[in-house]
Protein backbone atom coordinates (compact mmCIF):
# COMPACT_ATOMS: atom_id res chain seq x y z
CA UNK A 1 0.00 0.00 0.00
CA UNK A 2 1.23 3.51 -0.78
CA UNK A 3 1.67 5.94 2.07
CA UNK A 4 0.67 9.42 0.98
CA UNK A 5 1.69 12.51 2.89
CA UNK A 6 -1.33 14.77 3.37
CA UNK A 7 -0.17 18.40 3.57
CA UNK A 8 -3.17 19.29 5.75
CA UNK A 9 -2.99 16.35 8.17
CA UNK A 10 0.80 16.73 8.11
CA UNK A 11 1.48 13.01 8.14
CA UNK A 12 1.73 10.01 5.83
CA UNK A 13 -1.56 8.15 5.63
CA UNK A 14 -2.63 4.94 3.89
CA UNK A 15 -3.65 5.06 0.25
CA UNK A 16 -7.13 3.73 1.07
CA UNK A 17 -8.05 7.10 2.61
CA UNK A 18 -7.35 8.97 -0.65
CA UNK A 19 -8.89 9.44 -4.06
CA UNK A 20 -7.06 10.48 -7.21
CA UNK A 21 -8.61 13.55 -8.82
CA UNK A 22 -6.90 14.05 -12.19
CA UNK A 23 -4.16 16.30 -13.51
CA UNK A 24 -3.23 19.37 -11.46
CA UNK A 25 -2.57 22.99 -12.46
CA UNK A 26 -5.18 23.13 -15.21
CA UNK A 27 -6.45 26.70 -15.21
CA UNK A 28 -10.02 27.32 -16.33
CA UNK A 29 -9.90 29.81 -19.21
CA UNK A 30 -11.36 33.23 -18.54
CA UNK A 31 -14.47 33.94 -20.63
CA UNK A 32 -15.09 30.26 -21.18
CA UNK A 33 -18.30 30.90 -23.13
CA UNK A 34 -16.33 32.83 -25.77
CA UNK A 35 -13.49 30.37 -26.45
CA UNK A 36 -13.46 28.14 -29.55
CA UNK A 37 -14.53 24.49 -29.48
CA UNK A 38 -10.90 23.51 -30.04
CA UNK A 39 -9.72 25.61 -27.10
CA UNK A 40 -12.47 24.17 -24.92
CA UNK A 41 -11.56 20.64 -25.95
CA UNK A 42 -7.92 21.30 -25.10
CA UNK A 43 -8.87 22.65 -21.68
CA UNK A 44 -11.55 20.13 -20.80
CA UNK A 45 -10.45 16.82 -22.32
CA UNK A 46 -6.82 16.81 -23.37
CA UNK A 47 -4.33 15.66 -20.76
CA UNK A 48 -0.57 15.22 -21.00
CA UNK A 49 -0.41 11.70 -19.49
CA UNK A 50 3.34 11.98 -19.15
CA UNK A 51 5.54 8.95 -18.66
CA UNK A 52 7.64 10.18 -15.75
CA UNK A 53 6.91 13.00 -13.33
CA UNK A 54 3.24 13.99 -13.26
CA UNK A 55 1.44 16.66 -11.24
CA UNK A 56 -1.85 15.42 -9.90
CA UNK A 57 -4.75 16.42 -7.69
CA UNK A 58 -5.58 14.10 -4.85
CA UNK A 59 -8.30 14.25 -2.23
CA UNK A 60 -7.96 12.99 1.33
CA UNK A 61 -11.57 11.93 1.13
CA UNK A 62 -11.61 9.59 4.14
CA UNK A 63 -9.42 11.93 6.19
CA UNK A 64 -9.51 15.71 6.32
CA UNK A 65 -11.53 15.89 3.09
CA UNK A 66 -9.11 18.34 1.44
CA UNK A 67 -7.93 18.43 -2.15
CA UNK A 68 -4.17 18.88 -2.54
CA UNK A 69 -1.56 18.42 -5.25
CA UNK A 70 1.21 15.87 -5.67
CA UNK A 71 4.22 15.32 -7.90
CA UNK A 72 4.50 11.62 -8.62
CA UNK A 73 6.38 9.32 -10.96
CA UNK A 74 3.89 7.59 -13.25
CA UNK A 75 6.08 4.52 -13.78
CA UNK A 76 7.32 3.80 -10.25
CA UNK A 77 4.17 5.28 -8.59
CA UNK A 78 6.45 7.02 -6.10
CA UNK A 79 5.38 10.35 -4.68
CA UNK A 80 8.04 13.07 -4.85
CA UNK A 81 6.24 15.80 -2.91
CA UNK A 82 2.72 16.77 -1.92
CA UNK A 83 1.66 20.36 -1.37
CA UNK A 84 -1.45 22.35 -0.52
CA UNK A 85 -3.97 23.42 -3.15
CA UNK A 86 -3.18 26.89 -4.46
CA UNK A 87 0.56 26.59 -3.94
CA UNK A 88 2.69 26.92 -7.08
CA UNK A 89 4.01 23.91 -8.94
CA UNK A 90 7.26 23.04 -7.13
CA UNK A 91 10.61 22.95 -8.89
CA UNK A 92 11.96 19.42 -8.51
CA UNK A 93 15.67 18.78 -8.25
CA UNK A 94 17.38 16.22 -10.47
CA UNK A 95 18.03 14.18 -7.35
CA UNK A 96 14.37 14.11 -6.41
CA UNK A 97 13.37 13.01 -9.90
CA UNK A 98 16.06 10.31 -10.03
CA UNK A 99 15.08 9.01 -6.59
CA UNK A 100 11.44 8.70 -7.67
CA UNK A 101 12.24 6.89 -10.93
CA UNK A 102 12.12 3.08 -11.13
CA UNK A 103 15.22 1.75 -9.43
CA UNK A 104 15.71 5.04 -7.55
CA UNK A 105 16.83 5.03 -3.97
CA UNK A 106 13.73 6.48 -2.31
CA UNK A 107 11.40 4.12 -0.53
CA UNK A 108 7.70 4.86 -0.99
CA UNK A 109 7.37 5.75 2.70
CA UNK A 110 10.16 8.30 2.87
CA UNK A 111 9.22 9.80 -0.48
CA UNK A 112 5.71 10.30 0.85
CA UNK A 113 7.01 11.97 4.00
CA UNK A 114 8.91 14.62 2.05
CA UNK A 115 7.43 18.07 1.71
CA UNK A 116 9.17 20.20 -0.89
CA UNK A 117 12.19 17.99 -0.56
CA UNK A 118 12.45 18.27 3.22
CA UNK A 119 11.42 15.75 5.85
CA UNK A 120 8.05 16.69 7.29
CA UNK A 121 8.97 15.99 10.89
Amino acid sequence: MLLIHCPYCEEARPELEFRHAGEAHIARPAGIAEISDEAFEAYFFIRDNTKGIVFERWRHIHGCGRFFNAARHSVSDRFVVTYRAGEPKPELSGEQVAAAAPGGKATPANAAAGVNGKAAR
Binding site: Y8, C9, L16, C64, G65
Partner: protein, 180 residues
Protein backbone atom coordinates in the same frame (compact mmCIF):
# COMPACT_ATOMS: atom_id res chain seq x y z
CA UNK B 1 -52.51 5.53 17.05
CA UNK B 2 -49.01 4.29 16.24
CA UNK B 3 -46.26 5.45 18.50
CA UNK B 4 -42.73 6.13 17.33
CA UNK B 5 -40.27 4.10 19.34
CA UNK B 6 -36.62 4.99 19.37
CA UNK B 7 -34.37 2.04 18.63
CA UNK B 8 -30.62 2.08 19.16
CA UNK B 9 -29.08 0.60 16.00
CA UNK B 10 -26.93 -1.73 18.11
CA UNK B 11 -29.43 -2.38 20.91
CA UNK B 12 -28.68 -5.44 22.99
CA UNK B 13 -25.28 -6.19 21.45
CA UNK B 14 -22.20 -6.81 23.53
CA UNK B 15 -19.07 -8.85 23.15
CA UNK B 16 -16.68 -9.71 25.95
CA UNK B 17 -13.60 -11.79 25.20
CA UNK B 18 -10.35 -12.12 27.13
CA UNK B 19 -8.42 -8.91 26.43
CA UNK B 20 -11.15 -7.29 24.37
CA UNK B 21 -14.68 -6.01 24.76
CA UNK B 22 -17.08 -4.30 22.38
CA UNK B 23 -19.96 -2.16 23.51
CA UNK B 24 -22.33 0.25 21.78
CA UNK B 25 -21.94 3.78 23.13
CA UNK B 26 -25.03 5.47 24.57
CA UNK B 27 -26.93 7.88 22.30
CA UNK B 28 -25.18 11.25 22.07
CA UNK B 29 -25.59 14.75 20.69
CA UNK B 30 -23.33 15.44 17.72
CA UNK B 31 -22.54 18.43 15.55
CA UNK B 32 -20.59 18.71 12.36
CA UNK B 33 -18.95 22.10 12.76
CA UNK B 34 -17.33 24.00 9.89
CA UNK B 35 -15.77 27.33 10.76
CA UNK B 36 -12.96 29.61 9.66
CA UNK B 37 -10.24 31.06 11.84
CA UNK B 38 -12.14 34.31 12.51
CA UNK B 39 -15.12 32.47 14.04
CA UNK B 40 -13.21 30.19 16.39
CA UNK B 41 -12.83 32.45 19.42
CA UNK B 42 -16.59 33.04 19.67
CA UNK B 43 -17.34 29.34 19.17
CA UNK B 44 -14.77 28.34 21.79
CA UNK B 45 -16.53 30.60 24.26
CA UNK B 46 -20.02 29.36 23.39
CA UNK B 47 -18.99 25.71 23.74
CA UNK B 48 -16.81 26.27 26.80
CA UNK B 49 -13.82 24.52 25.28
CA UNK B 50 -10.96 25.43 22.96
CA UNK B 51 -11.45 23.71 19.61
CA UNK B 52 -8.23 21.84 18.79
CA UNK B 53 -6.30 23.66 16.03
CA UNK B 54 -3.82 20.87 15.22
CA UNK B 55 -4.34 17.82 12.97
CA UNK B 56 -5.51 14.68 14.80
CA UNK B 57 -6.04 16.57 18.06
CA UNK B 58 -9.08 16.41 20.30
CA UNK B 59 -10.21 18.38 23.33
CA UNK B 60 -12.64 17.54 26.10
CA UNK B 61 -14.27 19.77 28.68
CA UNK B 62 -17.58 19.91 30.51
CA UNK B 63 -18.94 16.70 28.99
CA UNK B 64 -18.07 17.80 25.44
CA UNK B 65 -15.50 16.33 23.09
CA UNK B 66 -14.26 18.23 20.04
CA UNK B 67 -12.48 16.17 17.40
CA UNK B 68 -10.36 17.81 14.68
CA UNK B 69 -11.37 16.29 11.35
CA UNK B 70 -9.96 18.86 8.92
CA UNK B 71 -8.49 22.37 8.81
CA UNK B 72 -11.95 23.91 9.29
CA UNK B 73 -13.98 20.91 10.43
CA UNK B 74 -14.73 19.38 13.81
CA UNK B 75 -17.01 16.68 15.17
CA UNK B 76 -18.50 17.75 18.50
CA UNK B 77 -19.87 14.97 20.68
CA UNK B 78 -21.73 15.51 23.94
CA UNK B 79 -24.10 13.72 26.26
CA UNK B 80 -27.75 13.94 25.33
CA UNK B 81 -29.34 17.12 26.60
CA UNK B 82 -26.20 19.23 26.21
CA UNK B 83 -28.03 21.55 23.83
CA UNK B 84 -25.12 22.01 21.45
CA UNK B 85 -27.09 23.57 18.61
CA UNK B 86 -28.78 26.01 20.98
CA UNK B 87 -25.45 27.21 22.37
CA UNK B 88 -24.23 28.09 18.90
CA UNK B 89 -27.55 29.49 17.65
CA UNK B 90 -27.05 32.56 19.81
CA UNK B 91 -23.88 33.56 17.98
CA UNK B 92 -24.33 36.41 15.53
CA UNK B 93 -22.04 38.33 13.21
CA UNK B 94 -19.81 35.37 12.32
CA UNK B 95 -20.13 32.81 9.54
CA UNK B 96 -20.01 29.12 10.37
CA UNK B 97 -22.01 25.95 9.80
CA UNK B 98 -23.22 23.59 12.50
CA UNK B 99 -25.21 20.56 11.37
CA UNK B 100 -26.84 18.23 13.86
CA UNK B 101 -25.64 14.66 13.25
CA UNK B 102 -26.87 13.18 16.52
CA UNK B 103 -28.92 10.49 14.84
CA UNK B 104 -26.83 10.02 11.71
CA UNK B 105 -23.93 8.54 13.68
CA UNK B 106 -23.64 5.90 16.30
CA UNK B 107 -20.54 4.77 18.14
CA UNK B 108 -18.88 1.63 19.43
CA UNK B 109 -16.41 1.45 22.29
CA UNK B 110 -13.64 -1.09 21.83
CA UNK B 111 -11.57 -1.75 24.90
CA UNK B 112 -8.74 -4.06 25.87
CA UNK B 113 -5.18 -5.10 25.15
CA UNK B 114 -6.25 -6.60 21.83
CA UNK B 115 -8.21 -3.54 20.65
CA UNK B 116 -5.43 -2.35 18.34
CA UNK B 117 -5.11 -5.81 16.81
CA UNK B 118 -8.84 -6.00 16.14
CA UNK B 119 -8.97 -2.50 14.61
CA UNK B 120 -5.91 -3.25 12.49
CA UNK B 121 -7.89 -6.00 10.77
CA UNK B 122 -9.80 -3.30 8.91
CA UNK B 123 -8.14 0.05 9.54
CA UNK B 124 -4.94 0.66 7.56
CA UNK B 125 -3.63 3.59 9.58
CA UNK B 126 -0.75 3.33 12.05
CA UNK B 127 -2.27 2.84 15.51
CA UNK B 128 0.99 2.56 17.44
CA UNK B 129 1.04 4.83 20.51
CA UNK B 130 3.71 7.01 18.87
CA UNK B 131 1.65 7.65 15.72
CA UNK B 132 -1.81 7.66 17.33
CA UNK B 133 -1.50 8.53 21.03
CA UNK B 134 -4.25 8.94 23.61
CA UNK B 135 -6.32 11.97 22.54
CA UNK B 136 -5.63 11.42 18.82
CA UNK B 137 -8.56 11.22 16.45
CA UNK B 138 -9.16 11.12 12.72
CA UNK B 139 -11.53 10.19 10.00
CA UNK B 140 -10.33 6.96 8.39
CA UNK B 141 -11.77 3.67 7.14
CA UNK B 142 -12.65 0.30 8.65
CA UNK B 143 -13.13 -2.28 5.93
CA UNK B 144 -15.50 -0.62 3.48
CA UNK B 145 -16.97 1.86 5.95
CA UNK B 146 -15.81 5.36 6.78
CA UNK B 147 -15.32 5.88 10.51
CA UNK B 148 -14.05 8.49 12.93
CA UNK B 149 -11.59 6.86 15.28
CA UNK B 150 -10.58 8.36 18.63
CA UNK B 151 -8.15 6.91 21.17
CA UNK B 152 -9.68 7.65 24.56
CA UNK B 153 -7.24 5.60 26.66
CA UNK B 154 -4.15 3.51 25.85
CA UNK B 155 -6.35 0.48 25.12
CA UNK B 156 -9.76 2.09 24.52
CA UNK B 157 -11.04 3.53 21.25
CA UNK B 158 -14.29 5.12 20.16
CA UNK B 159 -15.43 4.15 16.66
CA UNK B 160 -18.00 6.57 15.23
CA UNK B 161 -19.80 5.40 12.12
CA UNK B 162 -22.95 6.19 10.22
CA UNK B 163 -26.02 4.61 11.72
CA UNK B 164 -26.71 2.74 8.46
CA UNK B 165 -23.21 1.20 8.63
CA UNK B 166 -23.50 0.21 12.29
CA UNK B 167 -24.41 -3.41 11.64
CA UNK B 168 -21.52 -3.83 9.18
CA UNK B 169 -18.99 -2.13 11.46
CA UNK B 170 -20.16 -4.09 14.51
CA UNK B 171 -19.97 -7.44 12.72
CA UNK B 172 -16.58 -6.55 11.21
CA UNK B 173 -15.20 -5.78 14.66
CA UNK B 174 -16.72 -8.94 16.15
CA UNK B 175 -15.07 -11.06 13.46
CA UNK B 176 -11.77 -9.21 13.95
CA UNK B 177 -12.02 -9.52 17.73
CA UNK B 178 -12.53 -13.27 17.57
CA UNK B 179 -9.36 -13.74 15.56
CA UNK B 180 -7.30 -11.04 17.30
Amino acid sequence: MAEAARIHPLAGRRLALPGLSLEPCPPAERLSLRAGEDALAAIDEALGLALPRRPMASATAGGLAALWLGPDEWLIVADEGAGLAGRLAALTGIAFSAVDLSHRNTAISIDGDKAVLALAAGCPRDLSPAAFPVGACSRTVLGKAEIVLAREAPARFRVECWRSFADYVWNYLVDAAKSA
